[in-house]
């Protein structure tokens, strides 16, 4: 460490210098989601209002966004699974 460097003088921790973009498809492959009141399963709709099979046993693209590290976009971000914050009540 240089003399001017103290832990509080860095604008970014070293680990954050290792950020890279996601590969492949980002963004969610649906326009709207809605809960089916009867089955409690989510319905996914495309821009035309058609129901699409999404994030289930679908294409590679839809799987990509539903995988543990799936992406998102700035407007409608889907937090990657292991990035989601677990909310809990501490002891």
């Amino acid at each position: 460490m240089n003399r001017a460097e103290t832990p509080a003088s860095f604008t970014q921790a070293w680990g954050a210098t290792r950020l890279v973009p996601f590969k492949g498809a980002t963004g969610v492959p649906y326009a709207r989601v809605e809960l089916d009141p009867v089955t409690q399963v989510t319905r996914y709709y495309d821009l035309d209002g058609q129901i699409i099979k999404c994030g289930r046993h679908g294409s590679n693209q839809s799987q990509n966004t539903s995988n543990p590290t799936g992406g998102g976009d700035g407007k409608n971000p889907t937090p990657p699974d292991d990035v989601n914050v677990t909310d809990y009540v501490p002891d």
């Binding site: 509080a8 860095f10 543990p68 590290t69």
Partner: protein
């Protein structure tokens, strides 16, 4: 009393939960799906009474279901959203409302009577600390790569010299957005020791010796059932690019399955997603255990009956 319900706490766009809910619905088990993160923006009503020596009665209503809080057979806790305050609230008021919701609603949902939790949120939170994971993994006999947790530059450099090649792994992921608005993340990649600098001291970092692996394995334990899938990837971290992965269901060595079960028992978990690297000699090196990870895409790739196993666990009366 009505047939007890399964309460699924998750986001609206969670495909893993969709699979489980669809299966429970096929089985005729009542399901209530709820994202506690929606609570402060409306649509969820709750009242709970404690009387007669603290005995609970109460109910919770969503737009489509009413739940008797004393008649829940199990909770599937699949990474629900954090509480979001209404935009019209000032910071102080928002923090107040959020904390009341966390301690009030989440507290209630974490203490339902005679209810099985897959997994209990407090146990999930505990099991997400890397140090807890290392202690537990070592206690149950997993082989663990040499690891350093530090904010000292000298120790990071010495570790790289002694154990190179070395990778860096965050101790906890947080969302990051690049200046172009796109999300960015940190993959497990080798560290060039020349890249290390004083900003190591800005917070705690985790370094780990690279395992000389030929492939990775994801072992998903659901109740008593153990599902292992070999994952072949050109990347050190297979999560980098799902499009290039190949999957194959493989048997789990008996001692590994036993160690996985012991690990979960130790941390009070009924579900866990274990990551291993396997060497040319067939040794399994333990990396981590995610107590709340997704698995449905592995079922789609391999046909392993993981949805049924999860539904079995949630259906059984605790």
């Amino acid at each position: 009393m009505a047939d007890p319900a399964v309460l699924v706490l998750t986001r609206l766009d969670d495909p893993t939960s969709d699979e489980v809910i669809a299966e429970l619905h096929r089985r005729g088990i009542p399901v209530v799906r709820l994202d506690p993160g929606d609570f402060l923006t409306g649509g969820i009503e709750v009242s709970a009474w404690y009387q007669n020596l603290g005995q609970l009665s109460g109910h919770l209503a969503t737009s489509s279901r009413t739940l008797d809080l004393t008649n829940v057979r199990s909770v599937y806790y699949r990474r629900p959203s954090p509480h979001e305050p209404p935009e019209v609230m000032s910071d102080d008021n928002a923090r107040f409302a959020v904390e009341q919701a966390r301690y009030g609603l989440n507290g209630l949902l974490a203490s339902l009577p005679n209810c099985r939790y897959v997994n209990h949120p407090r146990h999930i939170a505990h099991a997400e600390f890397k140090a807890v994971q290392f202690a537990t993994a070592s206690a149950v006999g997993f082989q663990i790569p040499a690891t350093l947790i530090t904010n000292r530059l000298d120790d990071a450099r010495a570790f790289c010299a002694d154990h190179g090649p070395v990778v860096y792994k965050p101790l906890r992921n947080t969302p990051f957005t690049a200046t172009n608005g796109h999300p960015v993340t940190i993959w497990v990649r080798p560290v060039d020791p020349d890249d290390l600098d004083g900003s190591i001291t800005a917070t705690v970092h985790l370094f780990q010796a690279v395992v000389d692996k030929v492939a990775d394995v994801r072992t998903t334990v659901i109740g008593d059932q153990v599902f292992s899938v070999r994952i072949d990837s050109p990347h050190l971290d297979w999560r980098e690019d799902y499009a290039v992965l190949t999957y194959r269901a493989i048997p789990t060595p008996v001692h590994t399955a036993q160690a996985c079960r012991a690990y979960l028992r130790h941390l009070g978990l009924l579900y866990g997603a274990f990551d291993f690297g396997i060497t040319r000699d067939g040794e399994w090196w333990w990396y981590e255990c995610n107590p709340a990870g997704q698995w449905h895409w592995l079922e789609a790739e391999t046909g392993l009956p993981m949805t049924a196993a999860t539904a079995d666990l949630l259906e059984a009366i605790a």
